[in-house]
């Protein structure tokens, strides 16, 4: 019996047709100067106008019912859309998290009213969500969250602070994990709940954090006596830990875990075609072989998820391998570019490469650090 379950799934002609449509659209937008490609675009490049265009084309909300503004397609269609937008380095950051994570959460736990109200706006590329997990004292040790929601008449009163919330400054909602009752002795996983907070409510303060390159795409979010209605508790009261870890496991194997820096390679390949020396061939061959293998793994998992199987170990492995590959890719491109005299590098190449280098540190942090991933893998190997 083999330890790891990665099915090989052949491309589907209908999906490839969708891919061609995406490619044509993205080329048109880029050529028209409507966006400048960037690495790590799903985290750090947001353009609400671009998101609305994606919404109009029907490329957000692919997986949910048309009753809620979705498009009755599958997670495999969504996979193609995400991988093509990553390849293009398109500014998809505004809608990415709501589309990937919070819409499915609302579908499962939201009220009918919330679904009818919010999901169509997400699908239109008009409504954005931020993740509310980390706190100053709760990074890798997520169970240490201190932000509290106290039961009050008709709802919850929220006090505390979240941090590193990407896109909160342009988002309409945050789904936060909050302490709704005290930990049970040493078991800190009880008493945590997921609550959706309208970020326009009184008592919410959002302060951007500037990253090392001068960009401000993540935030601190403060809550001071914010009153959230009852129906914003998503799922089970006290069941937040299980919900969050389940969610994290699902999102670890997506294409954003290994293709976020592909635009850097793509740009270099355009410059370097026919110009690489033989020493560089080995680098390129190895890099592409790695990418092909990772894509096979990620696509295999997407197909398992589509069938209702949740391969947690495999997803953690993909994230660890993928994050390593992303950072290696940028370094390999630097080496490949040595084959081109520097005066022939395009300004675009330089810009993209530098953005890629500056945005590389969080690759191995977000969504669970490398160390946390290896701990999860070790547990699943039976080592702890």
């Amino acid at each position: 019996m083999q330890r790891f379950n990665f099915p090989v799934v052949q491309p589907d002609p209908a999906l490839e047709e969708l891919r061609s449509e995406l490619q044509a659209f993205l080329k048109e937008e880029r050529d028209a100067g409507n966006f400048r490609p960037e690495p790590e675009c799903w985290m750090a490049s947001s353009d609400t106008e671009f998101s609305k265009k994606m919404g109009k084309r029907g490329w957000i909300g692919l997986t949910w019912s048309s009753k809620y503004g979705g498009h009755d397609k599958t997670a495999l269609e969504r996979y193609i859309v995400t991988e093509e937008t990553l390849r293009a380095g398109a500014p998809v950051g505004a809608h990415w998290i709501a589309d990937r994570q919070h819409a499915p959460m609302l579908l499962e736990h939201g009220t009918e009213e919330q679904k009818l109200d919010i999901l169509p706006r997400i699908a239109a590329g008009e409504c954005y969500f931020a993740i509310g997990l980390s706190e100053p004292g709760a990074g890798s040790d997520l169970a240490n969250v201190k932000t509290k929601a106290e039961k009050v008449e008709g709802g919850w009163k929220v006090n505390g602070q979240k941090i590193w919330s990407s896109g909160a400054h342009i988002s309409h909602y945050m789904v936060a994990i909050l302490r709704t009752s005290p930990a049970d002795g040493r078991n800190r996983h009880v008493g945590l709940s997921q609550i959706m907070i309208d970020l326009s409510l009184p008592g919410v303060t959002i302060k951007p954090i500037t990253d090392l390159s001068g960009d401000a795409h993540f935030n601190e979010v403060y809550f001071e006596d914010v009153i959230v209605p009852d129906d914003c508790l998503l799922g089970e009261e006290g069941g937040g830990w299980k919900q969050v870890t389940g969610e994290l496991a699902m999102e670890r194997s997506g294409p954003e875990r290994f293709l976020s820096s592909y635009i850097t390679l793509e740009t270099a390949l355009h410059q370097l075609r026919g110009k690489l020396g033989s020493d560089s061939h080995g680098r390129l061959g190895k890099l592409i072989a790695n990418l092909r293998t990772l894509r096979g793994m990620s696509w295999g998992i997407a197909n398992l998820l589509h069938q209702g199987v949740s391969p947690e170990t495999e997803a953690a492995l993909v994230k660890d391998l993928g994050n390593r590959l992303e950072n290696d890719l940028t370094l390999q491109v630097r080496a490949l570019l040595n084959d081109l005299p520097e005066e022939e590098w395009s300004d675009e190449m330089r810009r993209i490469l530098n953005i890629g280098i500056l945005r590389s540190p969080p690759n191995t942090l977000r969504g669970g650090t490398t160390e946390v991933m290896r701990g999860i893998t070790a547990r699943q190997l039976g080592l702890r």
Binding site: V8, G296, L317
Partner: protein
Amino acid sequence: MINTEGMVAETAAKIYTDLCGREVPHEAEAGQYPQALWDALAENGLPLAWVSEDNGGFGADYDEVFGAIWVSAEAASPVPFAETLIANWLLDRAGISIPDGASTFALLDGNAASVPFAGTADRVAVYDSSKNEIALYKTADASAADGQALSPDSDTRLDFSTATPVASAATNLSRRAVEPLILTVRAVQMASAIEAALNLSIAYVSDREQFGRPLSKFQAIQHQLAVAASESAAATMAATQAASALARNADDPEKAWHEAVVAKVQIGHSVEAVTVPFHQVHGAMGYTQEYDLHHYTRRLWGWRDTLGNEHHWSKLLGAELAVTSPDQIWKGVTTGAWIAS
């Protein structure tokens, strides 16, 4: 995931379970060849799985047989089962009748070739792309270079310049049509050996205690094996992808070339990333002949050289990609279609 269900793989699994327990590879290296294991494989016709029915085989699909190869590598097979499958495939393609017994294969460069299991296999099927010819030799008729082998089945340099073939025939198989099968068979064996060695390592660190607790409780050990596990999973994926490409292109194996090369490159480069932690967590015990780990790690060190090492193949693949359009490369990465249709 390599499919180990189906008659061929299940038959092989039963034979290896019954006749290739953990002591058998040790005994084989001490000079006690497991003839009973080979005989059981032969009696069940397994070495003829890829031979056409006209030539006495049973023309099995590629993927059915890869499961049997996975099983044989998991048992550190001391008999050249995979090599005989490849040799018989080559001979069958040239219409040469299949000899009894264990064989191996060679892709000639000049008069010589690097040949696995040369000390064990009776015969060697030699593919010569310069003459478009496949020939069958007695292994003993070629002159073998003296040297230190990496493992019992690793390559030995054989020179055929003074040897006379037992049979030969012209072939229209291109080298690029032969390479995918050989590379994919090795990829499957290597992925299987990596996983088997991972399992050994997990068992060892769970059992061995230092500083009053099992090694498995140390984070430094856990992380080393977690990284090795990710490489193991990637190796299995790459091998499965190559096996699937070959199965889909049975009539035109050249079309499976890129996926086979991807597997060769991916897995070849991962050998160091797995054998280092496997040996590290085993301490000195893993360096002994008595313990089982070397049955896998030495084979991996040998197998990564098949038809040239991972650096050679990275360069070959890269040289092609270096003149390919970025659109086509993306298509290859995402769909496995590496050549414009």
